[in-house]
């Protein structure tokens, strides 16, 4: 009797888990199906003909998608470079130096994430328009950097805080200048955390839609904008393939984040 109840519970748990897996994976599976469906219409439950025609169309070297992918990656690389150039000094100051009003500065970097962003972006677009830089790569990079700065500054500060101070002092005692101690001891030790923050900023930039939608149009077409245009134009195949391209780095990051962000750094984020 007890065994029967136990196996009934097991079946219930397994079916709940299966339902959960369906809800979780189903939408992604549907996307993958659309990407290889050459023809798919009601009442057919599965694509009528399969094929890679749309993949070829998307990956044609002269196609829109390759151009958008190039634009997206270029913008993301510039955003990472810009964000790190700002956040390494800021993170070091927040973690190591006596800084007046430190808590206020930490919150300052958080603010762009804490406010509903659409209302901000429409005004940024207006300001950029007056400056004549709307619709340029520079405008998009600036918006992405401001958006990603909270991650890069907070993670950089945590990474610097996790570096043992005694190692720095040892280098100084042996006669290294402060700058030299920073570049040969502190920075290399904080590098894994800083690289993690760079990857984070890269992904945020690659995936960003709202800001680009307002300051990038019509000249700058990143992958998310191409996806949006294809989806709204009813081209489910191109939209799905673009979505899958964007999905790959996100899922890889999800699987490997723990390698980059060690627990001791993670515990110090935001403190």
């Amino acid at each position: 009797m007890i065994r029967l109840a136990a196996s009934a519970r097991m079946v219930l748990a397994a079916s709940l888990l299966a339902a959960f897996a369906f809800v979780l994976i189903g939408p992604i599976l549907n996307l993958a199906l659309w990407s290889v469906a050459e023809r798919w219409y009601t009442p057919y439950k599965l694509p009528v003909t399969y094929g890679t025609r749309y993949w070829e169309q998307v990956f044609r070297p002269t196609g829109d998608a390759m151009a958008s992918l190039g634009t997206s990656v270029w913008i993301a690389v510039l955003t990472v470079a810009f964000a790190l150039a700002l956040s390494i000094p800021a993170g070091y100051a927040l973690a190591r130096l006596k800084l007046p009003m430190r808590a206020l500065f930490m919150v300052m970097f958080l603010l762009p994430q804490a406010f509903p962003s659409v209302a901000i972006y429409i005004n940024v677009a207006r300001i950029f328009y007056q400056l004549g830089i709307n619709g340029t790569v520079l405008a998009v990079v600036l918006v992405h950097t401001a958006h990603g700065l909270v991650f890069s500054v907070w993670i950089a500060a945590a990474a610097f805080a996790a570096v043992d101070k005694d190692l720095e002092l040892a280098a100084r005692n042996m006669g290294a200048s402060p700058l030299r101690a920073f570049f040969t001891v502190t920075l290399p030790l904080a590098a894994p955390g800083i690289i993690a923050s760079g990857i984070f900023v890269f992904l945020e930039s690659l995936d960003e839609f709202t800001g680009t939608f307002f300051v990038g149009v019509p000249q700058v077409t990143t992958l998310p904008l191409l996806l949006y245009n294809a989806a709204m134009g009813g081209n489910y195949q191109v939209a799905s393939i673009t979505a899958l391209i964007l999905l790959v780095p996100s899922v890889l990051f999800m699987l490997f984040i723990e390698r980059f962000l060690r627990a001791d750094v993670l515990a110090k984020v935001g403190t």
């Binding site: 097991m10 369906f22 189903g26 439950k45 599965l46 800021a90 429409i122 709202t210």
Partner: protein, 276 residues
């Protein structure tokens, strides 16, 4: 010689300048634009915003609150199972599965749901194939239900991840004691474990609340029809009419809604600290 304080300020200034230029300045711009007409103070734009979009305001708040409630529920079930689950096979499978949507961009989630929840999408088709539903009963979920489904799908892993982390760090002995005294796992979770991690849950939910309030792509792509969310209305005022004043009035209303969430959170934090 530069003092340490000056050096620190010098190092942090470039980052702050960027935030000031691309956040504080546009924020001021939006407030001025929402409250003024030809240089004079007016509430005209708010009157217009309420006249045209009061349905959408209610719609937005209801959608975001419902999504937060469902996200909290799903995250509690997942994190609770991960912490208190006794079957290693189930816990392991759940742990491997639940994080998948964590870093998936909203726009990709929106495209997934556009196909999955459509009238002849994979969800309805699967139900029909399993015999759970007649083909004629299939309806499209691409309206408010689709928006909520997308938000919950996307935000649950985030909330569950933070919650599971907090649950893992509380004292196991109390939970074991509760179990030994004969309390069911559900009771241990609700009465012993959750109260200790309420703060983490609330932080995660407030962050999710603001995120959902800011997303443009999901309401734009998942539900095309009226009523819709305020983000879509703002984009429409700008793109169709170049009407910055009304769009900014709507923007100020979204600030107030998110401030409401932050105040609720802060008040709870204060009332919790008071008795100690």
């Amino acid at each position: 010689m530069l003092s340490q304080r000056h050096l620190a300020l010098l190092l942090i200034t470039p980052g702050l300048v960027l935030v000031a230029a691309l956040f504080l300045y546009p924020l001021g711009f939006s407030l001025i634009s929402a409250f003024s007409k030809d240089g004079a103070f007016t509430l005209e734009w708010f009157a217009k915003a309420f006249e045209l979009y009061s349905t959408d305001m209610v719609f937005t708040v209801v959608i975001v609150l419902t999504s937060c409630a469902l996200t909290a529920l799903a995250a509690i079930v997942i994190a609770g199972t991960l912490t208190l689950g006794e079957n290693r096979w189930i816990v392991g499978t759940l742990r491997a599965l639940y994080r998948w949507p964590l870093f998936i961009p909203f726009i990709v989630a929106a495209q997934c749901m556009r196909t999955f929840l459509a009238k002849n999408g994979l969800m309805n088709n699967s139900f029909v194939s399993l015999g759970l539903m007649e083909p004629l009963q299939a309806v499209s979920y691409l309206d408010w239900r689709g928006i909520i489904a997308t938000f919950v799908w996307k935000q649950t892993p985030f909330v569950a991840l933070l919650l599971a982390g907090a649950l893992a760090s509380i004292d196991r002995a109390t939970l074991e004691a509760g179990r030994n005294l004969g309390a069911s796992r559900l009771r241990v979770l609700v009465e012993l474990a959750l109260p200790q991690v309420m703060q983490t849950l609330l932080v995660a939910l407030v962050l999710s609340f603001v995120t959902m309030l800011s997303v443009l792509s999901v309401p734009l792509m998942v539900s095309g029809s009226q009523p819709t969310m305020l983000t879509v209305d703002m984009a429409f005022r700008i793109n169709a009419y170049g009407d910055y004043a009304t769009a900014n009035a709507l923007g100020v209303i979204t600030y107030l809604i998110s401030a409401g969430a932050a105040i609720l959170y802060l008040r709870r934090g204060l009332s919790q600290e008071a008795p100690r």
